[in-house]
Symmetry: C2
Amino acid sequence: MRAHNFSAGPAMLPLAVLERARDELLDWGGSGMSVMEVSHRGKAFVAAAEATQAALRALMGIPEEYAVLFLQGGAMGEFAAIPMNLTAPGDSIDFLLTGDWGVKAAAEAEKYAGVRVVADESADHFVRAPREGSFTVSPDAAYLHYTPNETIRGVEFGYVPDAGPVPLVADMSSTILSRPVDVSRFGVIYAGAQKNMGPSGLVVVVVRRDLLGRARPQTPTVWDFTVQAGADSMVNTPPTFGIYLLGLVLDWITDQGGLLGMAERNRAKADALYGFIDASGFYSNPVDRDARSWMNVPFLLADPSLDATFVARAADAGLTNLAGHRSVGGMRASIYNAMPLEGVRALVDFMAEFERTHG
Amino acid sequence: MRAHNFSAGPAMLPLAVLERARDELLDWGGSGMSVMEVSHRGKAFVAAAEATQAALRALMGIPEEYAVLFLQGGAMGEFAAIPMNLTAPGDSIDFLLTGDWGVKAAAEAEKYAGVRVVADESADHFVRAPREGSFTVSPDAAYLHYTPNETIRGVEFGYVPDAGPVPLVADMSSTILSRPVDVSRFGVIYAGAQKNMGPSGLVVVVVRRDLLGRARPQTPTVWDFTVQAGADSMVNTPPTFGIYLLGLVLDWITDQGGLLGMAERNRAKADALYGFIDASGFYSNPVDRDARSWMNVPFLLADPSLDATFVARAADAGLTNLAGHRSVGGMRASIYNAMPLEGVRALVDFMAEFERTHG
């Protein structure tokens, strides 16, 4: 039986995607070969990669003046690659810090450039996004970096920050494709695939073309946005299976009504879970209501000594990977695109029953 | 019907591996989840990654004083990562150039360090390895880099170069696991997975621990060998599906008699194909006999105007991906570990018939 899998990433994939991948794993498109076994430069795979890119552009409304790159190294690799590509030594980068991943991105960026923190929500243990307009972007910043959704503590921006003429760079790993977004507001969008897009090992970078051509001389070729944009991300062998699976995921999202359909579905899931938590005296979520993540819902039990029992009983009930991140404890339900409303309902039912028997 | 797939990479995988991956793609180990859907930090996946590393250590005889890393970015990423990890600015690296990949590795290394070419077989279009003892390694070199098997022109070293006290660094992408190798001779062995190990998107790095601790301050964290060695390659999310598949491939190799079994099988395949080519007046291979690759067998037709017909007829006969690399033309049959002897026999039969009807 398939579990209701609340893993924060690598995370649940749509069942229809996995079934299709299984069914054609030994014979892709009648080729007699697995998609993993064909040359990335062969006609069939090049067409598949192009179709994947076209589907991503269509779903997100990515304008022509943006390049779409399929790279390796994860979002954490981009923490280094983006300063290498977008700054010169001596430049400075502005950061909004609303959680652990933004802090890590800033620490890595400091290897390459100055870092100015223009908003920092750490004093209250990251329970909110800065109020819109409450921070000032430095006019000379190479870019403004933020994390629209912080996976660990479940803090999501309800707005796109205004960076004025400064390029806006967003780590969308745990929110990409969960709702519509105005790509034209951004200089760079990047996201590890293993939450809403596919398996780990693929990172998608959407970069405005006027930001190309600035890579430092010591930027590794495979991470040079300009080189990869000129080579359709094939300066070396890309993670072909990940690109293929992303294509299947994008087809599935399109079938579900695109990003508007996803947004409706995700809002309903989040409302059901936060609604239950707020109505309960046993469970709690510390995040400000207007910054609550649609994707990652951390919650605490009134009695933390029951945490291990909760996780174990949930697993017995087919609800897996509910333990919170090792750095914060408690619980966390990640309810990415692939999680159906029934999964959230099953979780809510279990939580109610657990409260009744243990609360 | 499964094809006989002679792709140079991504390449053929063992049928038993693909079948197992297919059978458990929706439910890995009774978890109710795909291996792609579980946390890399969960017990089940950590155990799988450890088992994969243990199997690689056992098969290759990797001593304890070497770290085994599962990274991203491909061998081309390592062209940059290795100088970043092993050299300081001003250092110099010695290179043996026996083909196109070595040339690319040297060009990338020049971004970070001096490059001295101590053997260069380009004058004769890369048809041989330098004679053993015919080159002098600089005593002050940070390391000596070579490519034991050059995928494009099919040149393979029949010996391990003596670098004296200088660390020896080898790009084994297209030869790793094809035969036994004395790991203790090397400072670093690295290999992209997509030829003899699994899908693209995973690169394996075997590094002697005394070479750790030297990374430049600007080395990206995900590529810092020391950091990754201390984090079991999980400083960020690794390519989990690739690590899982590598584990299945290693089990399969073990079942085939380990690297001695592989060597026997690979020698028989190479003998069959080169033997046929040499006996033919229609096909030819330009590489010196003692440097002929067991893995990549380029060959030319006496009449190059027949190349396209050869490739098309071969594909009709279920023999796929036989066109040579776009940079050199002609034909190339890549006969990695997963290619059975029957596949080579089918190719030889086809080649004989093609010569009879077109020669």
